[in-house]
Amino acid sequence: MEHIHTLSIQNTYDADFIKRVEEASGQQVSKCYQCGNCSASCNYTYVYDYPVNQIMRLIQLGQREIVLKSRSIWLCASCQACTTRCPCNIEVSHVMESLRIMSREEKMVSLKDIQLFYDEFLRSVKTFGRVFETGLLPVFNMKAKRPFGDMDLAPLVLKKGKLHLLPSRIKGRKEVAGIFERLEAFHKKHEA
């Protein structure tokens, strides 16, 4: 995060962004009155570049780029503490989830590792029908250029006989892959 010195609000104000966030999340962002309870309740505030309440504030001010490029939205674990305690009945966690999707769509993802892990995860699902934990981790580590991540755990897991060397492939792999394909087709159709 870069420290914001002066925000020329009108220059970067994007009214359409506010509307799209509200539509995607089904939440009315203007209800937020900045009590800060979401940030008070969020266990991840300390790793965020902007606390959740500031993310909400930035949306209210239509600051699309700052929001979608923020690390906060990718560090949110969807633990729902913010949603549960919001006095304005805003599903804050849902807003964060919608921001992640928008940030991908607009190619503004700041934390590529997390996106990478998610992508590899879904690729595993698309290929095997289930997640292949043992296979997923090395591939992710390699792509993320951190070849030794979690390697300390391998011997432990091996000892407990929990490491499967082969993926469990389901019979309905094609059906699962079909879901991915139909989804893609669906979006293409609606864009057109």
Partner: protein, 652 residues
Amino acid sequence: MRIGVFVCQCGTNIAGTVDTQEVARRAGNLPDVAYATSYMYTCSEPGQQEIQRAIREKNLQGVVVAACSPRMHEPTFRRAVERAGLNRFMFEMANIREHVSWINNDREANTRKAAELVEMAVAKLRFNQPLFSSQISVNKRVMVIGGGVAGIQAALDCSDGGLDVVLVERKSSIGGKMAQLDKTFPTVDCSSCILGPKMVDVVQKDNITLHAASEVESISGYVGNFTVEVRKKATYVDWTACTGCGACIEKCPSRKVPDVFNENLANARAINIPFPQAIPKKATINRDYCLHFTKGKCGTCQKVCPTGAVNYEMQDEIVTEQVGAIIVATGYDLFDASVYGEYGGGRYADVISGIQYERILSASGPFGGHIKRPSDGKEPKDIVFIACVGSRDASVGRPYCSGVCCMYIAKQAILTRDHLPDTRVWVFYMDIRAPGKNYDEFVRRAQEEYGVQYIRGRVGKVYPKGDRMVVQGNDTLLGVQVEVEADLVVLATGIEASAGARELAEKLRISYDQYGFYMESHPKLRPVETNTAGVYLAGVCQGPKDIPSSVAMGSAAAAKVQALFSRDTIETNPQVALVNERVCISCGKCIQVCPFGAIQWKELRGGIRKAEVLPSVCQGCGLCNATCPPKAIQLQHATDNQILAEVNALCA
């Protein structure tokens, strides 16, 4: 009929989005309309004179004013046409401001709509008949329901004005919430010192009848002549004999009774006087804890009572009071903090409510005015106040501001620093709401002179760690999460409508909002009246407010009652149902449905009976009219023909 139509421009309020000239022009083409014009401010004195002049010069028999809501100015214009010699019911209003000009900017559509509303009003007016009031006598006694500071003020003011007052209080002593407070903001004067003398006054006034430990059972009648049944609950002590000496309390063996007055921070006895300054200072037995009632084997209080006042056989008693007006001052409840699971109120002994802290601060409280925490009696070194617990929170159904918490937090913070200069005080708040004389200065003093730390942000969670509590919050001004360890956490619980408010409202036939606060007749101009004539509001039952406002409202309600009682009779509303005996088929359905018992059988010759309306009892709801199959019973001023004329103006 010769009808005059006056289209008000209301400055630009109406003329801004409605072509009032055009509305007047179209009105001029309507049948029976002899005169139509547009005027800048029809409700102003010259505006009213213009109407009166037109009535005389144009020989008008009926008047339509197209202006604001009839709920606003119908009485004004009725008086105006009356002064020009017309019957005041030969007048109709078309609401082209609240229902037209203020809710849409489409000038053309608005103009058309306004013209049609005028057309409907003219159509109705053509069926209007002159109606005349009759006089009914007024019983110049007033009942005040609720003996908190608002009710006490209302009762004393009425009493000073020479009226007989009946004061009904649910608890065994008057005083309300204010009696529980230690000090009052922003002057930090002692609450019981300023309230006490007023409470004493109540019993010393000859013209005030006090029913404590009593509740309103039922209400019937109408303005000037209400009949109220009051249930005097069995206290098991004959209050005419009880001297309040306290001998019974001292000897009572049942010692683990929650002390409600002290917000359960201490124990009371099964026979009890809630606090030393109680009015009336009379003992009451709590059946749930009294060994005589629970085990059937104690009789100590009866034995020790020097006046033999204890009576275990006592039953509830119903007394009937006849009054001409009612002031409702039933106060409020405090939000139940245990709704917020994340704050641990009700689960952790050292997480308490603001009113509990008030009792802790009070010299007559459970700890004699020494600040100790409930769990272990230790003096707290860090105290955290959390604002807006049950206020401004839609997720718990309380989106409104309680209006007093910011101030009582500041007061309690100052008192804390006064009592314990070494104790640190932290306040988590969202915004400071301190509009009032010397209020904001008071909050500033808490920060500037008393060093109270204010942290802007709602608290996420409170949890125990060792023998302290951790308050996990957020400083939104810094944008960081903060933690404060505290020995005592005070939740500034907000105001909510009294638990029985809705039930009482139904007995009184007054309205309440979605939170249970009573609705005033007009939010600005009729703040103490209700929509039921003769019933007035005082204090927090109408909405959150502080002590000065409650007292002012008590006085205002008393003034309203005195104005009502300044005459010996009041005019009845002639907009009541009327039976056309020739058409009545004697089916009795109107009698069956009337909510007020205002219709009865009238015997004619030959054993034939017809329905008959008692005009002083009829409230004018028209249910009978809608029910009557041949429409023999017609609600005056809202007859079938009048409503049909409006429908026909639109749909025929």
